[in-house]
Symmetry: C2
Subunit: 322 residues, 2 copies
Amino acid sequence: MPGGEYFHRVDTAKYNQMPPAVKRLFTNSAGLAICFTTNSPVIKAKWTVTNSGRMGNMTGIAQKGLDLYIKRDGKWQFAGVGSPSGVSSEGVLVNNMGTEEKECLLYLPLYDELKSLEIGTTSDSYIRAGQNPFKNKIVIYGSSILQGASASRPGMAYSSRLSRSSGYNFINLGLSGNGKMEKEVADMVADIDADAFILDCIPNPSPTEITERAAEFVMTLRSKHPDTPIIVIQTLIREKGNFDQKVKKWVKQQNEAIARQIEILRKNDVKNLYFIKEDHFLGTDHEGSTDGVHPNDLGFDRMLQKYKPHLSKILKVKFDKE
Amino acid sequence: MPGGEYFHRVDTAKYNQMPPAVKRLFTNSAGLAICFTTNSPVIKAKWTVTNSGRMGNMTGIAQKGLDLYIKRDGKWQFAGVGSPSGVSSEGVLVNNMGTEEKECLLYLPLYDELKSLEIGTTSDSYIRAGQNPFKNKIVIYGSSILQGASASRPGMAYSSRLSRSSGYNFINLGLSGNGKMEKEVADMVADIDADAFILDCIPNPSPTEITERAAEFVMTLRSKHPDTPIIVIQTLIREKGNFDQKVKKWVKQQNEAIARQIEILRKNDVKNLYFIKEDHFLGTDHEGSTDGVHPNDLGFDRMLQKYKPHLSKILKVKFDKE
């Protein structure tokens, strides 16, 4: 979206009716990336974030750091990271390259507000603003899992992996603990000129909130986007529920509640509405999570192997193989 | 090993000739786990670590936290984690279970010294010391990658994954940045009554150090263990070297240096010496690392898919499929 603070995902002054926690989380730069080209053999960065504490289930690099990709043979390839040292950090992202022109994509912190960013190159090289390399707008609205917990670095958030592997712009509207489908958030999402909407928020609302809000959220999007595909995804099974019977039951109730709402919407003849059912998204060995709730990179990889065939079929998008 | 501080991997007073950095790292509880049985429906923990700073490429749970598995149908299954809140932490690892007897395995912090640990159960339940559930002793000597960077939680260190998936005791002698094959460390490793030795330390020594030390390290083990399998593994390719030509060259030189030493040892008729060559250990999409050096859980998973067929054949060990 145009407007608002530069590294915020949403102009929260414009959408100031959204809940305070949602507005705060939209100041986190999850999914945002800076595009530039340079012929410098070294790329450095200086950046500033807030003084928020380190999270237990995230690396510093993922929470407050940077993640650089460079295009090679038409594909985005990992080049290096910036590991944070506090509020202000400075570091070499990649060194000892040639002086050929490089197209760069620099992912920003997943779980912090980026206050400033400087990119450093050698004094005899050029650096130029790049263009958004991804086409269309596929908006994903979701939970902490979408925001990036617990990817190991910013570029491993699943929306960003989908973008790199398809060339389409999967937009990260993940809201840690707060993807609860409030009316004011639905109104904001509906304002986006999107080619598709994916709702992957079911981990956050209670079964009752799902029953009360899901149909209205979908219909708010539908009223402004009569033909745009809307894809709703059930929540992954929480590995905490392997032994915790309450957690297991809660997740089951969330998934039953959203299934019922989809059924009602379909009976009401809502078209272009798709539903992806939980299907061992994290695999079957129970090793795919960092903390029993959030996927680790292994879990995300398995989840994407489940998501991609659906997304490919619905959106007519082709994804790279590994 | 018997003796020494309870949560240290090695009795560093006994082996006080080892380099200071090595001794310090052996105080980290990487790979250690506590076995117990209880019928409590809730398991809590109170634990204390040092005031060392949070690492950029590790989660708090992996660096300073706890990771609980419970046996189900003969397999160890993830149950819950303890996320650290500072030097002293307290938390519920798992809740809302039944009152049946549970066999538990609690992994300790990968990158810190555990100073104290208390396990909490309900007052009307029992808790009993368990027995080491893993047979034999397969000692792995290695780098930060073995110590557990950048697994998402303690139980995801690769030695621990090998143990759970085979029933054999893969012992973690990973030394962050310090698996450099010094003579004094070789002497200590040779003292272990092991059924096999795996040397996965090649990321740490320089090519020159490999040339100077590898053959002697192997022969120190061989002199005390005439027939025990010794397996040497090349270093994985550093993803940092995708664009950094110096890093790429350095890793190539390390792998060439160890290959030459293995050749010399074989010419000298050293038996039961095995060599596993780098073979895209982290896959081919360059997404398997957290920071360009250390695997994320996706990278570890791919690495184990490469390691297992070799280890299975050499050690006659059977691993579970995913």
